[in-house]
């Protein structure tokens, strides 16, 4: 390799390189490019700090536990977002309670829904793919969760 490839080897290598690129579907590349829309978003990130499923992952899981309602908590410096996954919807509350707007971001786009004056909201149906929630409260706090896949 230090002396380089001869013409045949170089042709074979180049063909392989071009094929590797051609094998990648356009939609896969576009998904990557569109991710840049999240660059420099001016919202505070909320980290996943509790996942009821993860809490039990170390121990043998019984069916009754696995079937129980899954609860998740995302926490930022200014507020938490508590989520419960039910059969058909995602119930949430902003803690400490306050009203605002919840945006559900999926790869298909963004939908908005209100959180009532005690911070409760409901997302239905539950997004099929990865999504994240952006919470803008009436007092001006702007918080974005990490990506969630349920």
């Amino acid at each position: 390799m230090r002396d380089g490839w001869d013409d045949e080897q170089l042709t074979v290598a180049l063909r392989e390189a071009m094929r590797a690129r051609q094998a990648v579907p356009d939609w896969f590349v576009e998904t990557g490019k569109s991710a840049y829309a999240w660059h420099n978003i001016d919202a505070e990130l909320a980290q996943l700090t509790y996942d009821s499923h993860r809490e039990t992952a170390g121990a043998p899981i019984t069916r009754s536990e696995a079937a129980s309602i899954r609860a998740l908590t995302f926490t930022s410096a200014h507020l938490s977002i508590e989520l419960e996954v039910t059969a058909g919807s995602l119930l949430g509350q902003i803690v400490p309670p306050r009203g605002g707007t919840i945006e559900v971001h999926t790869k298909a786009g963004v939908t908005s829904l209100p959180a009532d004056e005690i911070g409760c909201f409901s997302v239905a149906p539950i997004p099929a793919g990865p999504f994240r929630l952006r919470c803008r409260t009436t007092d001006g706090t702007d918080v974005l969760t990490g990506w969630i896949t349920l």
Binding site: E8, F28, G32, P130
Partner: protein, 201 residues
């Protein structure tokens, strides 16, 4: 490979607010992310989820990448981890409590190392090809087809005499070999193996 200046420059620009630099990074490394998804035999749907997660993680960590040149390794590891997550989630729905075991982790790290080397070689070759004059790109593109067209067909398509196709091919490959993108690859001494078996085969 660890100090590819073009990749470092792209990461720095993308960490600013340069969408075109980001697009170039994605073009360069999407084949790496895709090939690892393929190694894990993910469906298109799962591959899309993994790809999306990987690029979003990169977007969020662009400013924190301490060694931008280590990006391919980071991308490959992150992709393999996400693939394992998808695969084990699928297992878990069939068999409760399945967890990653050491064998899975080991297999993933072997995949990562192989794919990073291959992806860097391929990206270097594509970058070198992109730097060639248009005439060389046209000629080599025809010769790369499988099966390649006859010299008579190439002659007609590119309007060059049959007798000069061989010499032009040699000159174009020579330019390719000397291009900075490929020289950097060779000097990086990344243990690239020659594809296609025996020399001149």
């Amino acid at each position: 490979m660890r100090d590819d200046p073009s990749v470092v420059a792209l990461v720095v620009r993308a960490a600013g607010s340069d969408q075109s630099a980001w697009n170039e990074l994605v073009e360069r490394y999407a084949p790496l992310v895709w090939s690892i998804c393929t190694r894990f035999q993910l469906s298109n749907h799962d591959s899309e989820d993994v790809g999306q997660t990987v690029w979003l993680l990169l977007v969020e960590h662009l400013g924190e990448l301490r060694e931008p040149a280590a990006l391919p390794g980071w991308l490959a590891k992150t992709t393999a981890r996400e693939c394992l997550r998808v695969v084990t989630a699928a297992h878990r729905s069939e068999r409760l409590g399945t967890r990653l075991d050491d064998a899975d982790q080991f297999a993933a790290s072997a995949v990562v190392d192989e794919e990073v080397l291959l992806a860097e070689r391929n990206a270097g070759l594509r970058a070198a090809f992109a730097e060639l004059p248009p005439r060389c790109q046209q000629l080599l593109a025809m010769l790369l087809a499988d099966p390649p067209p006859s010299y008579a067909e190439i002659s007609a398509a590119l309007d060059i005499p049959v007798g000069s196709i061989g010499p032009q091919r040699g000159r174009c490959l020579g330019r390719l070999r000397r291009s900075p993108a490929l020289v950097a690859l060779v000097e990086g001494d990344i243990g690239v193996t020659v594809p296609g078996g025996e020399p001149g085969a």
